[in-house]
Amino acid sequence: MQELLAQLAIFVVAAFLGWELISRVPNLLHTPLMSATNAIHGVILVGGMITLAASGNAVIKAIGFVAVFFGALNVVGGFWVTNRMLGMFRPPLKRVRKRRED
């Protein structure tokens, strides 16, 4: 019971935090932001690992295997594509910053 209450408390605080984090974001960054948060929910891979590590019959193992595969795809693909997206902003930004420093 204590454990559950702690989980609920974390859930509520995290929900407000997520809400507060995204405010006044320029339109330009909506897609990268969505893509990055998409990668972060790939944390579900943690669940996949826990499930697959537990013993079970072949069907359950197969389900866990697919879950880990999906989770890893979500994490790696998500962060990678976000990085590529943001990489396109980088060179011009460096120029801007350099000019500001001059």
Partner: protein, 466 residues
């Protein structure tokens, strides 16, 4: 759970938050993504201690396969196809959450470790995760133009959806009550049935929604997957799943709202009505005269009379892969001492911010790309506004209180304030929202250059040079 793992999870959660914070400004965005990825690595390594390094061979094989597929697809995907790629990654995340909960539920049932929390959260996770999986798959198919393009609807769609949801509720209750409602279905079988019904529901929910609203749908499904991950955290009693999933669920929801308000499309209208039928019916659009200009005329005007040029790119530009030609036009005009700015509407491209990515990829400097709020005042003293492959985002009908159209209330780029307006467009077709643009018929102001975006731009460039 060991103290060390718990602390590692806390560090990972903190890094997720710092990462998202840094993603709010362009200068720090890329490092934000890297920091979040680093947090993920910590969470995954810590999990190895949770599972006591059991089943590493299977886990490793599955993870490496997933990572390789993810890396290759992310590296190879064209930037124009990026929205559907995000949808695909999102969908598999949702699918993973549903499968994990199903498998955990089976473990609990067979080992007799049933608990009330799991009995509630398992059906919930399976429902949200499967809807996200199937919905994302449909979104992918729509954007990739494999299937379900446009808005697919059938009679009584809402009723069917509601009934299906009711079936899922009954199945969940049946699983909770150990098969008391439907004796022929065991709790595990009920959850499997929920999974299947939710997949169908996911498909039915997304097929009526048109392509233009897909970014919002993907963003919403992203929030769903976050919630599914959080719910599976309650099933597994795992803190990082709860924290990471909830942050994404909440931030994804607010991001969805931000997007839909930038697009001027209320969320409820998108989800429950699909795309409203076009405002003006086909018969009402009469044949009217336009100023059908040649590339030479456009080039001549730009070379001789325009000093300040604002270019408005739209989705047609991306379709024609004309970003390079767009950069050439910018360079040609600048070499003649003219000022060139780009006005980027929030919905240009297929997702908010997508057009910026495409143009910077083609080598157009980031500082030339201006948001709606920045570019509208500039248009007052602009000599020529060139609109390439766009219509809805510059359609003054959106601001006309007399007309009730699907784009009414959407903020537009006010190109009508410029001296002359040039449309480079394949035809007079009124564009995605199906609303006719009065600017087309202003023969004194507007030049219509009917061409493919790439060809049209190249012709104009050679006309300017000659």
């Amino acid at each position: 759970m060991q103290v060390a793992t718990f602390l590692a999870y806390l560090v990972a959660a903190a890094l997720f938050i710092v990462g998202i914070r840094r993603l709010r400004t362009p200068e720090t965005a890329r490092s934000g993504n890297t920091i979040a990825a680093f947090g993920m690595t910590i969470a995954l390594v810590a999990t190895l201690f949770v599972i006591d390094f059991k089943g590493l061979l299977l886990i490793g094989t599955a993870a490496v396969l997933g990572a390789v597929v993810g890396a290759i697809s992310a590296q190879r995907v064209k930037m124009t196809a990026m929205p559907q790629m995000v949808a695909a990654y999102n969908g598999v995340g949702g699918g993973a959450a549903a499968l994990i909960s199903l498998s955990e539920f089976y473990h609990m049932q067979t080992s007799g470790h049933e608990n009330v929390v799991a009995a509630v959260t398992v059906p919930l996770t399976v429902l949200i995760g499967s809807v996200s999986f199937a919905g994302s798959a449909v979104a992918f198919a729509k954007l990739q133009e494999i299937a379900f393009t446009g808005s697919v609807s059938f009679p009584l769609q809402q009723v069917v959806n509601a009934l299906l949801f009711l079936v899922i509720l009954v199945l969940a209750a049946n699983s909770f009550l150990d098969g008391a409602i439907l004796p022929f279905l065991s709790p595990v079988a009920s959850v499997v049935a929920i999974l299947v019904s939710s997949l169908v529901l996911g498909v039915l929910l997304v097929i009526p929604i048109g392509g233009a609203d897909m970014p919002i749908v993907i963003s919403l499904l992203n929030a769903f997957t976050g919630l599914a991950a959080a719910a599976s955290g309650f099933v597994l009693e795992n803190y990082i799943l709860i924290i990471g999933g909830t942050i994404v669920g909440a931030s994804g929801t607010i991001l969805t709202r931000l997007m839909s308000s930038a697009l001027g499309r209320p969320l409820g209208k998108i989800i429950f009505a699909g795309i409203a039928a076009a405002g003006a019916s086909k018969e009402e659009i009469e044949e009217r005269e336009v100023n059908d200009a040649s590339a030479e005329e456009v080039g001549e005007y730009l070379a001789d009379e325009a000093e300040k040029v604002v270019i408005v790119p739209g989705y047609g530009l991306a379709v024609a892969q004309a970003q390079g030609a767009m950069r050439d036009l910018m360079e040609t005009l600048e070499s003649q001492g003219k000022e060139v700015l780009f006005g980027i509407h929030p919905v240009a491209g297929r997702m908010p911010g997508h057009m910026n990515v495409l143009l910077t990829e083609a080598g157009i400097p980031y500082e030339k790309l201006h948001d709606l709020e920045d570019i509208n005042p500039e248009l007052d003293d602009t000599d020529a506004a060139i609109i390439v492959g766009a219509n809805d985002v510059v359609n003054p009908a959106a601001n006309d209180p007399e007309q009730d159209t699907p784009i009414s209330g959407m903020p537009i780029l006010e190109v009508e304030k410029a001296q002359r307006v040039v449309f480079i467009k394949r035809s007079l077709s009124p564009g995605f929202a199906g609303v006719d643009n009065p600017l087309f018929y202003d023969q004194d102001k507007t030049m219509m250059l009917f061409a493919d975006a790439k060809q049209g731009l190249q012709d104009v460039i050679s006309a300017i040079k000659s």
